[in-house]
Every structure is written in structure tokens, then in C-alpha cells.
Symmetry: C2
Subunit: 228 residues, 2 copies
DNA sequence: AATAAATCACACAATTTGGGGGAGTTATAA
DNA sequence: TTATAACTCCCCCAAATTGTGTGATTTATT
């Protein structure tokens, strides 16, 4: 399932340092599909601002050469076998926090995307990205942006938004929110300037409405239903 | 402080319905600065795909006419006095969830941005946006995207990412994560397949490292420092 | 050999939690 | 006008949880 690990292409160091002085943006590509990888390399090197220092077909190889490659931007596929994509991002980021990682992938399922972002990806493009957009995205990421495909952007924004249909009243929602922060009934009461007994009342109602009977279950349900 | 409420401009309905049938995208503008508002109106109406149905200088007025205006997209300033911007988004969204709200603002402070997104804004542009980019953004939002200025995008992405420098061990982090979900020591122990006493040990260490002595304080500190 | 990490044990007091029963006020809808 | 919903507060009880203290053992890693 996993092809043999190999360094696909690595330029010599002396020339690279030279190039970097000229303001070139150093790029590393991690992608297991030969065709795609090579087309990325060509695309990058066609642009005078960028240079592709190395390209790998596994994260493991890329990580081995991380220090030497001294990349500014890594373009990586996270659709590789196993969790090596997400895990790769974490390792690279913890070793070299200043590298911008652009994920390029066929997947746009919630989980993969958010895992990649949490792991430290700075941008997230789907594979149908146009060559122009890819170049633009690299520029953008270097300028402090966070390029995303439109569908990804909507998912990301959507993750901030709460459901409009909540069974809870506004006061109950307030109480639940404070519960989420680990506050005790007493603390909640103090913060809302109401009696502890009132808080207990609200919580009883919350539990009934959410059909749960523990704090943890209430928080879980509320999180899943996006009502907090 | 608050200028007198007035409807600045509203087209007649019969003509609008007609136009909508022709596939026009109906836009409402909420902005208190006359100059900016008018330049937005002009810009929008110059484009054959869009029509500015109405423009208001307060949210209150816009909300009153919400049903009549039947907008597809609302372009709004959230830098208005008070919380009326954020609160306005909430009201509009809860009344008409299908309207896409694009916020255009001078502010790019964390809090304002995230509040707007949580309230239901679909896009977030800073006011120095170019006319072309603004038009592009409206297109984008209608196509299911979530246009953001580069700096905003980076903030949003950044909000997913954890700090790489955590004083906690991986096991301690796991425990803290489950605490955040409202789980009791017993539940945490079950979930991690360890003894309850071990969980208590971990929590003691967590408290010491974070320099706190309650659950709520630990969660707060961990959230602030982005270690969970 | 030493240190950090993870595991487990016991004890104690104080607090929290979930469940049960109520009851009053206010505002809005039928 | 009368419901009804929302918010407020009160009491009781038993079980569980929490914070703190003071330990110990094992397994890696240095």
C-alpha cells in the first residue's frame, strides 16, 4: 500500500542559499502521485519568484530533510495512506513553526479539513485548483493570508455558527455556556447574579429538553447540535 | 450619538420582483457613512448582475423592511455605534437564515471578527477592499464561498491551531481535554482505561503546572493559552 | 544513576450534582 | 381573560465529585 520511501529530487544546497538571497521563495512538495507531483514542480519552477527545492512522495522523507531544505512553504497532499498527512503536518510544524504548509487535497470532508487546520496547515486547497490559483495561493500565504477553496472557507466559517433552532431559552443557553467552561452551579449563579437555586432550576430544564441527565451528556449534545 | 433613523432609499417592489426573475442578485446595504454607502450603491448598480434594492444607515431600519426587501445578500458595516452591528446580524439571520451577510468593516480585531462570524456573517472584508474584490466577494458568497480579507482568513485559521509550547505532557493534555467536555474523574478514567486515582494524579499536576486550583480556572487558562 | 512520565493508593472535608417536591412574578399569546 | 412560557427562588436528600495531602511503583530516556 505504501510505496518504497525515496527522495525524489533534491537540489544542492550551495546554489539554493544563493537563490534565497535573491528573494526566491523556497518550496517543498510532498505528494505521492508522480504525475501531480511533477506537474507541481514544473509549475512552481516556471514562476520566477519560486523555486522547488525538493519533492518527496512521503512525509517521512520530507521530515528527514527538513533542516537542510529550509523551505518557506510546503505544498502537501494529505490524502496519503494512514494518518501520515495530518501527523506529518504536526511534526513539521513543531520542528519548524515558521514554515507555511499549504494542503492540497481531493478531500473536503469536515473531519480531514479541521484536523489539518488544527494540526497547523495555513491553507487548504482542493485538488481541482487551477495553476494560477495555486501560484496565487502561495503568494497569499507568504503575505500572511490563508488561502482556501471556496467550499473549505464556507465550512470553516460555518464552524463558528450556531444553530438557529435551539430548544433552550436564552437564559438556559447562558447557563449551559458557563457549564461548558467548567463552572460550578455556585459560580454560574454569581456570574449571572441569580440564586444558586435558580441555576439548578435552569439546569433541570436543560436536561429535560436535551433529554440527558449529566453535565457531560448535556455538553456533548449541545456541542453536536451546535446550540452553544 | 445615533443619527435619526431614516430609510435612505427604497425601490418599489413591483419592479424588483421583475428584476429578480431575470436572475438579478438583490442586495441591501447597511452603512452609516453616507459617502461610503453611496459609493457602494453606485458600485453595485453598475454591475449588471446586481441590484441594490435598498440602503439604510441603521440596522433597525433594515430589519423593519427585511421581509419586503427580500434581499439575497446584505452588505453591512459592523463598526456602527453600540453592538447594533453584531446584534443586527443575529436578528437578520434568525428571521431570514438564507440571506448571506457580508461584513465590511475597518476593524480587524479578533473579538469583533469572531463575534460577527458566530452571529452569522458569511464573509468578512476590511474596508480597504477594492471595488473589484467587493464585487468578486458578492459573487463568491452566492456561489457558496466565504470571502475574507487575507488578514481575517489568517485569524480564522489561526483560531483552530493550538500552541506548540504546552507545559503539559500528552497524557495530561488528554485528561484536560476530557475535563473540558464536562466529564467527571470517573468518566475520564473509564475513557482512558486507567484508574480514577491516576486521573486525580494527573489533574493535580495539571493544576500545579497551570498554577490554578479549580476546574474552571484550568479550563480558562488552557483555552486562553490555546493548549487544548 | 537520575529524571520525567505514567501509573496507582488511601484518607478527609467540603462542595457539587441530580432528583424530587414546590411557589411566585412577569410578559406575551390565545 | 386566561393560559402559557420564562425566569425566579426555596427545601430536602443521597450519592458523587472535587481539591489536597502524602505517599509508592514502573517504564523509558538521558
Amino acid at each position: 500500500m505504501h510505496t518504497a520511501v525515496k527522495t525524489v529530487n533534491r537540489l544542492q544546497n550551495y546554489s539554493l542559499r544563493n537563490m534565497n538571497q535573491h528573494g526566491l521563495c523556497r518550496i517543498v512538495i510532498i505528494e505521492d502521485d508522480n504525475l501531480i507531483r511533477e506537474s507541481f514542480v514544473t509549475l512552481i519552477n516556471e514562476n520566477e519568484k519560486f523555486i522547488c527545492i525538493a519533492d518527496y512522495d512521503t512525509c517521512e522523507e520530507a521530515i528527514k530533510n527538513l533542516a537542510n531544505d529550509n523551505a518557506d512553504v510546503i505544498l502537501m497532499d494529505i490524502g496519503l495512506p494512514g494518518i501520515s498527512g495530518i501527523e506529518g503536518i504536526k511534526r513539521i510544524k513543531s520542528a519548524k513553526p515558521n514554515i507555511d504548509i499549504l494542503t492540497v487535497t481531493v478531500h473536503d470532508e469536515d473531519e480531514k479539513v479541521f484536523n489539518a487546520l488544527c494540526a497547523g496547515a495555513t491553507g487548504y486547497l482542493t485538488k481541482n485548483v487551477s495553476p494560477e490559483r495555486l501560484i496565487e495561493a502561495i503568494d497569499e500565504v507568504r503575505l500572511g493570508g490563508a488561502p482556501m477553496s471556496t467550499s473549505i472557507a464556507r465550512m470553516v466559517i460555518g464552524s463558528f455558527q450556531k444553530s438557529t433552532l435551539s430548544p433552550l431559552t436564552s437564559r438556559e443557553t447562558e447557563v449551559l455556556q458557563l457549564m461548558t467552561k467548567g463552572k460550578s452551579y455556585t459560580m454560574i449563579a454569581d456570574e449571572l447574579h441569580i440564586n444558586k437555586e435558580t441555576v439548578r432550576s435552569h439546569i433541570k430544564n436543560i436536561y429535560q429538553k436535551l433529554n440527558v441527565n449529566t453535565k457531560a451528556a448535556a455538553i456533548e449534545k449541545a456541542t453536536k447540535d451546535r446550540i452553544i
